[in-house]
């Protein structure tokens, strides 16, 4: 073993920085899933009748489905009866930040998002989700002034049932896939947002949430609607404490953009990836999809995925409106024994629709990274265009990268561009930097950030900096 390798190992043993458990009193349902549990969830959340019906319908459908096996990921069978489907801090329904459990606030500070500071400096509206219930939502007033609705999903179910009835399942039906069906049956909470016609949302909206309770599953549901000419940028960040057991996370996000509307959805996912032997970590099976329903609408997904033991996630766009644009920018990093099977789905239906895909996969340790992308040009999609760029970086000998692009073109006027590359960050790159007087640590962050540049530049500034730090922390050690 060369000196560099030794150094790699040392640095690779960096701990998961966010692996602390917060000691807060919470109310948790015992593990297990049946119709009763669903009724209880619905009751606890004080839901209208129609929602319970929908949940049960989804649950019954889920029972007929089989867990998908096509992903390039390996994990032991998930015991769906071993999971608790509801957990909530006991103190909820707070009016202001002052009423929030101080310990909770401290947790957020450890996460690097002091609410107060954010409120003052960043001007970011935060809908902080702790386990399954949204604790407090800041900036409601500022947003209300311009007519933006931004609240926990469960609140929207009670307050705006007509909107929920209209848009929920309109992009991701409960029949969509195994995990979406499960989510539809047992979903807990997360954000609802509606930006009315012609409004440019005055601030970046943000949810920061965390899985705290042991053995709890996370089944968030998010719905964002941008009406005609509206603009909204939504940021999502995720962390989870360090635990030996695996935790399941199966969220659903639905976005709807009407004529000339733009939605930017950015994610930094840093859930606990398991330890260096592959023990523990989050199973992240997420369905995210946006519908560009209107003409010239625009949906953009940006994700930096450094966490989770398993990631199974394909944020996509249905490009229905003529001239609509879908974008996907992704950095997926797998280290130690992490596995990621991620990519996007772009369905071109309308005329002159465009999609842009930039995927950067980084594999280190025994990490396994798969890009799976589908671009579909339907018959009526005259003049559709797609650009796909798919780059993989390998660090070390034991990791792997796979690329599965699926392209289906039914209209001959389509313009398709596909670029793919696989490279290895090598000892030679590091040595080259060192020979020019640059230290190994600086060299690594230089190289990795250079590789991810096109994606990071899509993130809002404060998120981009956080993402850069995260990448450096997650990777620094493994390069050599």
């Amino acid at each position: 073993m060369s000196n560099t390798d030794v150094r790699v190992e040392e640095l690779a043993e960096q701990e998961y920085k966010y692996g602390f458990v917060t000691d807060i009193e919470s109310e948790t349902l015992p593990p297990g899933l049946n119709e009763d549990v669903i009724r209880q969830i619905s009751a606890k959340k004080n839901e209208p009748e129609f929602m319970l019906k929908w949940r049960l319908k989804a649950y019954r459908h889920w029972l007929t489905l089989k867990e998908p096996e096509w992903g390039n990921i390996r994990y032991p069978r998930i015991d769906y009866q071993g999971i608790s489907y509801f957990s909530a801090p006991k103190k909820t329904g707070l009016e202001s930040l002052d009423e929030v459990d101080p310990e909770l606030l401290e947790t957020y500070e450890k996460l690097g998002i002091p609410l107060e500071e954010q409120k003052m400096l960043a001007g970011v509206a935060v809908d902080a989700v702790f386990d399954s219930v949204s604790v407090v939502t800041t900036f409601k007033e500022t947003l209300a002034e311009v007519g933006v609705i931004f609240c926990p999903f469960s609140e929207a179910v009670q307050k705006y049932p007509e909107l929920i009835k209209k848009y929920m399942f309109s992009v991701v039906p409960y029949t969509d896939n195994y995990f979406a069906a499960l989510n539809s049956a047992v979903f807990t909470d997360r954000s609802f947002c509606l930006v009315p016609k012609g409004v440019r949302c005055p601030m970046e909206l943000s949810t920061y949430f965390r899985i705290n309770e042991k053995n709890t599953g996370q089944f968030e549901r998010t719905l964002i609607i941008a009406e005609e000419g509206a603009y909204v940028s939504y940021l999502e960040g995720c962390t989870a404490p360090m635990r030996d057991e695996n935790q399941l996370h199966a969220a659903v996000v639905e976005l709807v953009a009407l004529d000339d509307a733009t939605i930017k959805y950015s994610t930094i996912q840093n859930w606990y990836p398991g330890d260096k032997n592959g023990k523990g970590g989050i199973y992240n099976f997420v369905t995210k999809r946006g519908k560009c329903a209107g003409r010239n609408s625009h949906i953009s997904w940006t994700q930096v995925e450094t966490g989770s033991a398993i990631t199974w996630k394909y944020p996509g766009c249905i490009l229905l409106g003529d001239g609509s644009v879908g974008e996907f920018y992704s950095v997926a990093l797998t280290n130690n024994w992490q596995q990621a099977d991620t990519g996007t789905k772009m369905i071109h239906i309308g005329k002159n629709t465009r999609s842009n895909i930039v995927s950067k996969g980084i594999s280190a340790g025994h990490g396994q990274n798969t890009y799976r992308g589908m671009v579909k040009i339907l018959k009526g999609a005259q003049g559709a265009r797609n650009y796909t760029q798919c780059d993989s970086m390998l660090i070390g000998e034991d990791c792997s990268a796979h690329t599965f692009p699926y392209i289906e073109v039914k209209n001959s006027s389509a313009q398709m561009e596909h670029e793919a590359s696989t490279s290895k960050i090598g000892e030679d790159q590091i040595f080259y930097c060192k020979q020019r007087g640059i230290s190994a640590e600086d060299a690594v962050s230089l190289i990795v950030n250079g590789f991810c540049k096109e994606v990071l530049s899509e993130l809002p500034m404060e998120f981009a900096i956080e993402a850069q730090k995260l990448l450096s922390i997650s990777l620094e050690g493994s390069v050599g």
Partner: protein, 252 residues
């Protein structure tokens, strides 16, 4: 300035350098020639501190200090520059950004003030007067998408910018056409000074028509078997390496 004493080095289980002795004084230009696989590149890499090569015996003294235990970046800070045979690409990292980082790192080590971006740009402009290079090359990512000739010219430009005291050129002329070769040679000649020394490793005598060395050494099978003035290069070209290989065998 540099003294190499009985240097032995190996990679994996193969011994490549088998006892090199060489003294390089300030202002001198030494050329090391030899057939493929004789250990020329290994010597350059060992001087720069590449970890894949293990030094098993001997010393390398830079201004009297043994540098073999020193990290590559510190060697660079102390003034050793190696122009790579295969310059490495670093996608997404602008050449200027990279160079400022390198220069500031070296300046900091030597107790000099780090240059701010504006000052750095000024400094680069000055250097561009001496070494011909294009703005475009500086804006692009480090070596990414550069042609073979551009990469080598970029190495020479970096060398000019970082102002090392010992320049080691590892087959910088390989793969260059005659025009590109002249550009590289002009760069090296512009940097020759009484304080600076060069070790030019080459496989082809052609470069030495343009950069005239003070000494020529022939490296065969891990040893310097013959040394002489610039005429030795011509003789080698004429008679081929088999000439020294044979004579070294008969001498042994």
């Amino acid at each position: 300035m540099l003294e190499i004493r009985n240097l032995h080095a190996r990679v994996d289980d193969r011994e490549i350098l088998k006892g090199i002795n060489l003294v390089v004084n300030p202002g001198e230009v030494h050329s090391i020639m030899g057939p493929n696989g004789s250990g020329k590149s290994t010597l350059a890499q060992v001087l720069a501190g590449r970890e894949t090569y293990v030094v098993t015996e001997g010393e390398v003294l830079l201004d009297g200090d043994n540098i073999l235990e020193i990290e590559p970046e510190e060697r660079a800070c102390r003034g050793i520059f190696m122009a790579f045979q295969y310059p490495v690409e670093i996608p997404g990292v602008a050449n200027t950004y990279f160079l400022r980082m390198a220069l500031n790192s070296i300046r900091k080590y030597n107790g000099l003030k780090e240059l701010k971006p504006v000052e750095f740009v000024k400094y680069v402009k000055e250097k561009m007067k001496i070494i011909r290079t294009s703005d475009d090359l500086l804006k692009r990512s480090v070596n990414e998408g550069f042609s073979g000739g551009e990469k080598k010219r970029n190495e020479i430009f970096q060398m000019a910018l970082l102002e090392p005291k010992l320049c080691v050129l590892d087959e910088t002329d390989s793969g260059l056409d005659i025009d590109a070769l002249k550009l590289v040679a002009d760069g090296v000649n512009a940097m020759r000074s009484p304080e600076r020394a060069f070790i030019i490793i080459t496989h082809y005598q052609r470069l030495l028509n343009y950069v005239v060395p003070d000494f020529v050494h022939v490296l065969v099978d891990g040893k310097l078997v013959k040394s002489g003035g610039k005429e030795l290069a011509l003789e080698l070209e004429e008679k081929g390496y088999s000439w020294v290989e044979n004579s070294s065998q008969s001498a042994a």
